[in-house]
């Protein structure tokens, strides 16, 4: 906490004669722009402008671009058509039709999996919702189309291909290099076990978990965290 400053009083109301004359101020302004010009000429690589499309921006590996449906090692899609992403989508741009997979371990697969890229807002909620690690995003953001029908991407355009990943790279997904977790080799094949809960599991892996509050207090009471901060 601190005070209030009156910026109106800090800047003199009246300009000085030199400032009113205008020419010295022009020179001062020119000095600023000239400095920028010279610095850019000396270091053209450091210029902020990107000569798109010849040159492209280097996005982070969390970029939310075009979706891909990831595949198992045998080339089938990990998606089990559970409709979770369709339900989570705030733009209602995903439509799925489920079918029974001939291989009994896979149970279900999507016969139709369409994403309407004109509706999609690229929020990444589908990636968050997927329980099978089956939908990721890439860094591909160049998706211009000529017709509305073209904008509906079906399975053949969504299925992960090596070329696409090599060209654009992975974007938003549940795992990132260096965050201490590794993606499961094939999440869709591993069994889901009934257990005592993921808290124990995380403790086993010595990932610290904060202790739960004894109970919900009044809404406006200072939190444990706030008390700790002020101490």
């Amino acid at each position: 906490m601190s005070g209030v400053i009156d910026v109106g009083r800090r800047v003199p109301k009246q300009l000085t004669l030199l400032q009113k004359l205008y020419l010295p101020e022009i020179a001062r302004g020119m000095a600023v722009t000239l400095r920028h010009l010279l610095r850019n000429l000396a270091n053209p690589k450091g210029m902020p402008t990107i000569q798109y499309p010849e040159e492209k921006r280097n996005y982070s590996d969390r970029f939310r671009g075009k979706h891909i449906l990831t595949t198992r090692e045998d080339g089938t899609m990990k998606c089990v058509a559970c409709y979770m992403c369709q339900q989570a989508c705030p733009a209602e741009c995903i439509s799925i039709v489920a079918g029974e997979h001939p291989k009994i371990a896979y149970e279900k697969y999507p016969v139709v999996f369409d994403i309407d890229m004109m509706r999609c807002v690229f929020c990444g909620f589908c990636v968050d919702a997927c329980p099978k690690d089956a939908i990721w995003m890439t860094r591909n953001y160049e998706m211009a189309f000529f017709t509305r029908a073209d904008a509906v991407y079906s399975i053949d355009r969504l299925r992960e291909t090596r070329e696409e990943v090599a060209k654009h790279g992975y974007g938003y997904r549940p795992y990132y290099p260096g965050d201490g977790t590794t993606p499961p080799s094939d999440a869709s094949l591993l069994p889901v076990l009934a257990g005592s809960g993921e808290r124990d599991r995380l403790r086993e892996r010595s990932i610290p978990l904060p202790e739960r509050d004894p109970g919900p207090g009044p809404l406006n009471a200072p939190s444990q965290a706030e008390k700790a901060f002020s101490a």
């Binding site: 906490m1 601190s2 005070g3 209030v4 400053i5 009156d6 910026v7 109106g8 009083r9 800090r10 109301k13 300009l15 400032q19 001062r28 302004g29 600023v32 722009t33 920028h36 902020p48 996005y59 982070s60 969390r62 970029f63 939310r64 979770m84 989570a88 705030p90 733009a91 807002v121 690229f122 929020c123 990444g124 909620f125 968050d128 919702a129 329980p131 690690d133 995003m137 549940p174 795992y175 990132y176 260096g178 965050d179 977790t181 499961p184 591993l190 889901v192 076990l193 009934a194 257990g195 993921e198 599991r201 610290p208 978990l209 739960r212 207090g217 809404l219 965290a225 700790a228 901060f229």
Partner: protein, 576 residues
């Protein structure tokens, strides 16, 4: 003999009850305790009560914050189908009150206007008329505001089916009555009426100003908005609590992070969920960067409008650099969708602190350059000083908040008056100015950027290197992914959250933060389902824009353009 059961009230609500008992509507108004002290009143008493609340020395609720309608058709346990809910703030006493006006007649809901007491209520009442069909007898200009003039029905009523479309043709456009008449006076030129906008480079978004000119001077004006209305509040009623976050990004798209933070704070307060320090600090840091970004856009665009292009490029370079940081955190530059109820979507990247510190170095350099070019520039002074003046009294009466109010000399900042996250622990100043003109607003915004940098620097110093970023309450936050893949209990939580949404306990809450343009408030009503029953946004630039047609009177058209720039109107949040 009956014994009245007195329920225990909080001290704030008890004080409100005492004052209401001393008011002319004593006995006819009920005070209940919610998240804010709430007065329930009938429509005919509302103007009397409003005047009392403003003028009584023990109340002095001088700042009109918000007014919205609520339709209780699908909500049980309510006294009437329709109600209007107003929020008032007292600047001298720093307290708040909510007034619920219960409208007894469900067929033709009507409530007298309070425009004469609170001029700020003008547009809020028009909005309630537009979206709910409430009549406001005595209102000076009761026309549709957000929906177009060929719209049929009132979309926020619960029995209005969403998805209907109404065709709007050019001849349906309502022009103000006064603009159609020619004003001929003896010995004088004829005045003429012009339209500025809707699509005009200086309107930054789509805003329509109809102005009557006498020579170069504006003698009368009316602003028409709604060109970017996309029924945010109706959509919110159709989605889960978390699914609304991408929609909030599109309110003030220049500082999308702040909208999300304001929204999830409301939901978190309703749930009683705590976000760990690390998550809250990350939100604070990115919010302050968003504020800098918003001020950069405001100042840069304003200066372009009055002919200074270079500053725009310098300021936008800051914005680009901040976008790079946001993109590294969440994967998108403009529509970030980074916050979630209970925390953030993903942890911040490893180099987060280093990136922030690099920005702390680069941003002040470019602000300095802009100051060198602008602050003592004679042309800029001539264009901005003494134009678009808003006095202190006017600013309060028009319900302004944020840089607009501070530039008129009122040191009201939500971060100070109603501290949230860690703002009360940081050392920072509120910049104000007594001048209230366009130049004062420019100076206040420049200084606010520097103060934001100061806050970020302090937040980075205490930012924990490791630790949780999300609440560990899995009724609210999605469990970690590797737990979802292998553990049945986590998968169940994940499934319930995704398919049914967060179960927010039934109730109502108004929660407010300092947005980049002023007070950004969310009024949420839950009926216990996975999504909001009603969600009202209090967009900070809405009252500012409502006052625009008054501010420009007496100035020239070019002054109006300069003023529009310093108002910082973001059509996305104005029209919602």
């Amino acid at each position: 003999m009956t014994v009245a059961v007195e329920t225990a009230l909080s001290p704030a609500a008890e004080r409100v009850r005492e004052r209401v008992a001393a008011s002319p509507v004593a006995g006819r108004a009920e005070v209940v305790d919610r998240d804010l002290p709430t007065i329930e009143v009938s429509p005919k008493d509302w103007p009397t009560l409003a005047r009392f609340l403003r003028d009584d020395p023990g109340c002095r609720y001088d700042l009109f914050i918000d007014l919205c309608g609520v339709d209780n058709l699908r909500r049980s346990g309510q006294k009437t189908r329709f109600e209007t809910v107003a929020h008032l703030h007292s600047l001298p006493r720093n307290e708040r009150v909510r007034v619920r006006v219960l409208l007894p007649d469900p067929e033709s809901p009507s409530v007298p206007t309070v425009c004469d007491t609170y001029p700020a209520a003008n547009w809020f009442e028009r909005e309630a008329y537009d979206l709910f069909g409430f009549q406001f007898p005595g209102h000076p200009n009761l026309h549709r505001l957000l929906c177009h003039d060929a719209f049929v029905g009132h979309p926020l009523r619960k029995d209005y089916a969403p998805g209907q479309r109404w065709f709007f043709a050019e001849e349906d456009l309502r022009m103000p009555e006064w603009s159609k008449q020619t004003d001929v006076r003896a010995g004088h030129f004829e005045t003429q009426t012009i339209s500025i906008g809707p699509s005009h480079p200086a309107t930054h978004g789509i805003v329509h100003l109809v102005a009557r000119l006498d020579g170069e001077r504006i003698v009368r004006a009316e602003t028409m908005i709604g060109y970017l209305h996309r029924c945010f509040e109706k959509m919110a009623e159709k989605h889960h609590w978390n699914q609304i976050i991408p929609y909030t990004d599109r309110l003030n798209y220049v500082s999308a992070m702040l909208n999300g933070v304001g929204y999830v704070r409301t939901v978190e307060k309703m749930l009683g969920v705590e976000v760990p320090d690390r998550g809250r600090l990350a939100r604070t840091i990115l919010s302050e960067f968003s504020r800098i970004m918003d001020h950069c856009v405001c100042i840069g665009a304003n200066l372009v409008d009055i002919g200074a292009l270079t500053n725009f490029i310098y300021l936008y370079q800051n914005r680009e650099n901040i976008y790079d940081l946001l993109e590294a955190c969440c994967g998108a530059r403009l529509t970030v969708s980074y916050v979630r109820v209970g925390g953030l979507a993903v942890d911040v990247p490893e180099d987060f602190v280093a990136r922030c510190r690099a920005l702390l170095e680069s941003i002040p350099l470019l602000i300095d350059d802009v100051e060198k070019l602008v602050t003592n520039n004679r042309i800029i002074r001539n264009r901005l000083s003494g134009t678009g003046i808003v006095t202190k009294e006017q600013a309060i009466a028009w319900g302004m908040t944020g840089p607009m109010l501070r530039a008129s000399g009122v040191p009201y900042d939500v971060r100070r008056a109603h501290p949230y996250d860690f703002y009360d622990k940081f050392d920072w100043d509120i910049p104000i100015s007594q001048d209230g003109d366009n130049f004062a607003r420019y100076l206040v915004r420049i200084e606010e950027m520097r103060q934001s940098l100061k806050i970020i620097r302090q937040a980075l110093d205490v930012f924990p290197a490791k630790g949780p970023i999300n609440s560990d309450d899995w009724r609210v936050v999605l469990p970690p992914k590797d737990a979802v893949y292998h553990d049945m209990e986590s998968l169940i939580y994940h499934f319930k959250l995704t398919m049914e949404g967060i179960r927010v306990p039934a109730g109502e809450r108004y929660e407010w933060i300092e947005g980049s343009n002023g007070e950004l408030g969310y009024y949420a009503i839950s009926d216990g389902r996975g999504g909001p029953y009603r969600l009202k946004v209090r967009p900070p630039c809405f009252p500012n824009m409502a006052a625009f047609e008054q501010i420009v009177i007496g100035g020239t058209v070019s002054d109006a353009i300069a003023t529009l720039g310093t108002l910082n109107v973001i059509a996305g949040e104005l029209d919602r």
